[in-house]
Every structure is written in structure tokens, then in C-alpha cells.
Assembly symmetry: C2
Homo-oligomer: 144 residues x 2
């Protein structure tokens, strides 16, 4: 079934007819307090546009892959790790995650971080750090 | 040159390193008070993601084309015509414009309407109504 023409926002970053999904299966890789909503996908849409929301103090999986992420923050604030640097993020900031670049999104302690993320429909699976020590080294720019 | 990893929002819907462009060449078709900014385009990005801002009382061109639009309002409010219906729009509402469907976006009289719009990188050129009478008939659901 094709999407309705207009899907209204309910004032709290949920949309009519859009399911709030698990971010990933539990047990696959570390993450904390993240939900996923698919906003646009399929017929005629180039790629898939998703909304991720990281609860205060939460974070996405540390990962890398060949496909690129195009991101706009639309709620709250936080930080991201992309490659060798960490960046503060405020609402409406743009982030480009290049191919095979380690990345992670983290919400502030007292605010969620909500962002839309555009990806190709056909994309490779994320790679994870080999072990905890490698992950800690990759995450060093975050300083936490 | 590839995009910087983070491009910050300046608090007024402009972004670091993103040019504010003409919406269309003057004289091609009726529109009023619209700007365009290309947020993501090129290497690895599926499609092009643009930000359009329609000033209070302004409107985009009435047009249709084979390619689909995936839209999220991120500033202000207004209305849109999509096919045979007009819809009120608030911040964060989602709009899908199906193939070959007449559409137009209009800002409220007292507020801008800013929205991101995802399109395929390769896309057909917009078609315009044949004449003023046809345009008026297409726009009838707007009731203005």
C-alpha cells in the first residue's frame, strides 16, 4: 500500500501510521535507549528516510559500513563521533558519515537526540569493532 | 569536494557552507518568495535533499512530474495542494507527492513554511498547467 499523502506529526515526534520500531535486535551490539521510525521508503523514493530517537543518556551502536549516512538533527541535542573526531550537535545541524567511517550518536544527559537519516535502499550490513579494547580506542575522541 | 562532516545550523535555517539559491529562474512559471538550499547531494547520497523556504504569503510553482517528492515540514506552517485535495501543514508533518500529481506549497499569511524535500538525482522536468484557466481549475481545492 502506498503512503497516505499527508501524515501528521502528533507533537511528540510520532507520525500518523508510522510504527515505532526497535532500533536493533537486542544482543547484536551495544546500544542504549534508541527507537526507529521509517518515514519514507519504497515506491519512487530514492533510499529510505528514517527517524531515530536516542533517549537522554542513550547512544547508538558504534559501527561502520560502506553506505553513507545523511543526517539532520530535528530534536534535542547531543554529540556524535565520526571518524577521528567528536562533534557537539544541536537541532537542525547536518552530519555526513562517509563510507567505512566509525560513527556513533549520543544524546545529551538531559535531552533526547532525534535525527532523520537518509540511506540507500540497498546497503551493506554494519561492521562492529573486533573487541572491547578496539571499541574503546575508536571512541577515544568522545573522552568519556 | 566532499561535504564537511558536520555543517552547523545558524539558528535561522541557514547552514554553514550551504548557499541560499534562487528557487527557479524568474519568468519560467508563477511562484512567490521561495528560496532553495541543497543540504545533501552527490557521493553516496541516494538522491538530493533540499530545504525550501516559502516566505509568509508566498507559494511554490504549481507543477507535476514523474518523480516523487518526500517532504517534511521543519519550519512554520502553511498548506499544500496535492492532487484533488488541500491539506493544512504544521511543523514536522510529512507529505508524499505521488507521480504526475499536481502540487503546490503555500506559506501561511503570517509565518514561513520551510520544508526538506527528497528527490531522485536523475529526475524529469516539471510540467506546468497549459493555461491560466487550467491552473485555476487545478487549484480549486485551495479555495482561494
Amino acid at each position: 500500500m502506498s503512503a497516505p499523502i499527508v501524515r501528521r506529526h502528533d507533537g511528540a515526534f510520532h507520525w500518523e501510521g508510522v510504527d515505532v520500531l526497535q532500533y536493533k535486535q537486542a544482543g547484536t551490539a551495544p546500544f542504549k535507549d534508541v527507537t526507529r521510525q521509517v518515514l519514507f521508503d519504497g515506491t519512487g523514493i530514492p533510499g529510505q528516510l528514517r527517524y531515530f530517537e536516542v533517549a537522554p543518556g542513550g547512544y547508538t551502536t558504534l559501527e561502520r559500513h560502506e553506505h553513507v549516512h545523511a543526517v539532520m538533527v530535528i530534536r534535542g541535542r547531543g554529540r556524535c563521533l565520526v571518524g577521528a573526531d567528536a562533534y557537539d550537535l544541536e537541532t537542525q545541524d547536518l552530519v555526513t558519515v562517509p563510507p567505512m567511517t566509525w560513527h556513533q550518536f549520543l544524546a545529551a544527559a538531559d535531552e533526547p537526540l532525534g535525527f532523520i537519516c537518509l540511506v540507500p535502499s540497498e546497503r551493506d550490513r554494519p561492521q562492529l569493532p573486533d573487541d572491547v579494547a578496539t571499541a574503546a580506542e575508536i571512541r577515544r575522541p568522545l573522552g568519556d
